[in-house]
């Protein structure tokens, strides 16, 4: 056990799974040199060209390598460098990977992990900053995982590789730079299980990805004001662990849902609707959402700052559901 950042934790998960199972391989753009975020560091030196497949800038073909190889028994990890680039690969992800098992009457097993890097990161602008998890949560046949810290990232990635289904594994760029204690040995964090990151009694904050960091910061500030906030990180967005969320709201009677993605039609809307549906009688206030405005991600730092949901936005939402 030692302190590691999420980038190192992801690379460690890939290395340990490749070491354990010769059917696991990694394919993607520039994975040979470790990828632009370092999440593939050291893999090529250890496993060579055969198992660390450096592909052309061809997201559609790259994803097809995953679908075809998985359909005949391998366990591919396909890396789409930046989440916005999934648009190029969308047919293979949505029409092929997600639907193939169902359309074919259950014939193939498709153990594919598609890893990608998402979120706002110092003026990367509108085509390199997307947080697009909601698109994939809307597609039956896919699982969607979005860890917020290094410990969860390693365990969830190992569980994703061992899962027999297509998993979209989203690493948030800010989270990649944060560190936690991470065991050196392989371990699984089960898919579909939320984590209560901080216990509290007065309000539930359900947060995903980088918003977990902000939510914990908000909870700390609220504690100083005498407000006890519970912070829940679903970790897996599909399938969603609604039980943990509902149990928490039944205790706190108030809920705020925070996401980095555009708020309209986002995952937060689904969570808010689920709370209203399943815990309406427990609510003392409407569920409030925090998310990005309905604009593309701007380039100018002054605009990006306004755009990005943050601790202040979460605090403002909490104050709306807890009147002074």
């Amino acid at each position: 056990m030692s302190e590691k950042n999420m980038t190192v934790a992801v690379a460690e998960a890939l290395d340990q799974e490749m070491d354990r199972d010769p059917d696991v391989f990694v394919a993607g753009e520039d994975v040979r040199v470790g990828g632009p975020f370092g999440t593939d560091a050291g893999l090529h030196q250890k496993y060579g060209d055969k198992r660390v497949v450096n592909t052309a800038i061809s997201e559609l073909a790259l994803t097809g390598i995953g679908v075809g190889a998985a359909a005949v028994g391998l366990r591919p990890v396909i890396e789409i460098m930046i989440m916005d680039f999934v648009c190029v690969a969308m047919d293979q992800i949505v029409n092929q990977m997600a639907k193939m098992k169902y359309m074919l009457g259950g014939q193939p097993t498709l153990p594919i992990v598609l890893t990608t890097h998402a979120g706002i990161d110092s003026s990367s602008a509108a085509q390199h900053s997307g947080t697009l998890e909601a698109w994939f949560c809307h597609v039956p046949g896919l699982k969607v995982v979005m860890p917020s810290n290094a410990y969860d990232a390693k365990g969830l990635l190992i569980a994703s590789i061992r899962d027999d289904n297509p998993v979209i594994f989203i690493s948030n760029k800010r989270c990649l730079q944060t560190s936690t204690e991470v065991p050196d040995v392989p371990y699984e964090v089960p898919l579909g299980v939320a984590d209560v990151k901080r216990e509290g009694d007065d309000v539930t904050i359900v947060a995903t990805g980088r918003m977990v960091i902000d939510a914990l910061e908000a909870a700390e500030q609220l504690a100083a004001e005498g407000v006890s906030a519970e912070v829940i990180d679903p970790r897996t967005l599909s399938p969603l662990d609604t039980d943990t969320i509902i149990r928490s709201v039944q205790k706190t009677n108030r809920a705020v849902v925070a996401q980095e993605a555009v708020q309209f039609c986002g995952l937060g809307a689904e969570i808010a609707a689920t709370i209203s549906d399943q815990a309406f009688d427990f609510l003392d206030a409407p569920v409030k959402r925090v998310g990005a405005p309905f604009t593309p991600v701007p380039f100018a730092p002054v605009l990006e700052d306004i755009y990005l949901p943050d601790t202040k936005a979460i605090l403002a939402a909490v104050r709306e559901v807890i009147p002074a």
Binding site: G64, L104, L110, R162
Partner: protein
């Protein structure tokens, strides 16, 4: 390569099986006895059979929306195929895919596909797996001329060339992409010319001549199996019917063009050739056609009388419920 007479006759049987299957599938669609739509392979039989007869049983193929012929050529059972068209639970896809998604993984047929050119990246992945495992298998990717205008095709062929993947890209150039003639949509008239851009051989063959297809395919397959990479094999062929069904009512084709291609019906050409070689007499060929026609009638009866999916099947196979223990 000399083929045994037995295989020559088998090739006639397989082409006939496809024709008899699809003629009936068309009528069943017109009678609304089957659901959805069918894309008929009639006219293109020499391509699917000529190529698949050059494959080993454990080799792989990917197919298109026009996929019945490829599945039959790979050994598909007409009973289970008709059962799928009838949306029955014992169809190849359990009644959940239909004509456009028909697949038989146990026969190495990875699937028809409703998205044009989508089979190319998947075929690349299948062939990648063979190279990875060094299992000696070859993948054939079937597609039409229209697919070569999709980005997926270009990405897959480029990557297959770079990886020297054991794959053969077989283009069924039937001169029309859906309802549009190739001249108005495609920058080349010979699809094989596109191979140059990817540094692989491009070969043109008469797609109505099953022996020509078989010989060219055998060479490309052998090359792939030797680890020398992909070939783009263009088979010049023709769709006897409409894009969907026999007559969807939108296709505007010159009658002389249709007649000239119909005069080169690949089954009639092969039947004539077998008679001239003294391999199969007209009477023997008629008997085969009659027997296969009956086989199809029996398959339809089997399919029509098969059980529907049960309501619980709606929720089955969205996910695989295993894996955590692996």
């Amino acid at each position: 390569m000399e083929l045994a007479n037995e295989q020559l006759v088998h090739m006639f049987e397989q082409m006939t099986r496809i024709r008899e299957f699809d003629e009936r599938a068309a009528r069943l669609m017109e009678q609304a006895r089957i659901h959805g739509s069918v894309h008929l392979y009639c006219g293109e039989e020499a391509v699917g059979v000529g190529v698949c007869e050059a494959l080993q049983p454990d080799d792989y193929i990917t197919s298109t929306h026009r996929g019945h012929g490829h599945l039959i050529a790979k050994g598909g059972d007409p009973k289970r195929m008709f059962a799928e068209l009838f949306a029955k639970s014992n169809g190849y896809n359990g009644g959940k895919g239909g004509s456009m998604h028909i697949a038989a993984l146990d026969l190495g047929m990875i699937g028809a596909n409703g998205i044009v050119a989508a089979g190319a990246p998947i075929a690349l992945g299948v062939s990648f797996a063979s190279a990875y495992r060094e299992d000696g298998r070859v993948t054939v990717c079937f597609f039409g001329d229209g697919a070569t205008n999709e980005g997926a095709f270009h990405e897959a062929v480029n990557m297959a060339s770079v990886l020297k993947a054991p794959i053969v890209f077989v283009c069924e150039n039937n001169l029309y992409g859906e309802w549009s003639p190739i001249a108005g949509t495609t920058s080349v008239s010979d699809i094989a010319d596109r191979a140059t851009g990817y540094g692989i051989p491009g070969v043109i063959v008469d797609g109505m001549d099953i022996m020509a297809v078989h010989e060219a395919a055998s060479e490309a397959i052998a090359r792939a199996r030797r680890g020398e990479g992909p070939t783009l094999l263009e088979c010049k062929t023709y769709r006897f019917y409409d894009h969907v069904g026999r007559d969807f009512g939108m296709l505007d084709r010159d009658e002389e063009e249709v007649a000239s291609w119909r005069a080169r019906d690949p089954i009639l050409l092969w039947r004539k050739e077998l008679a001239e070689r003294g391999v199969l007499s007209a009477a023997e060929a008629d008997a085969i056609t009659g027997r296969i026609g009956q086989e199809m009638e029996d398959a339809i009866e089997f399919a029509a009388g098969s059980p529907d999916p049960v309501p619980e099947d709606l929720y089955r196979d969205v996910y695989t419920e295993t894996g955590a223990a692996r």
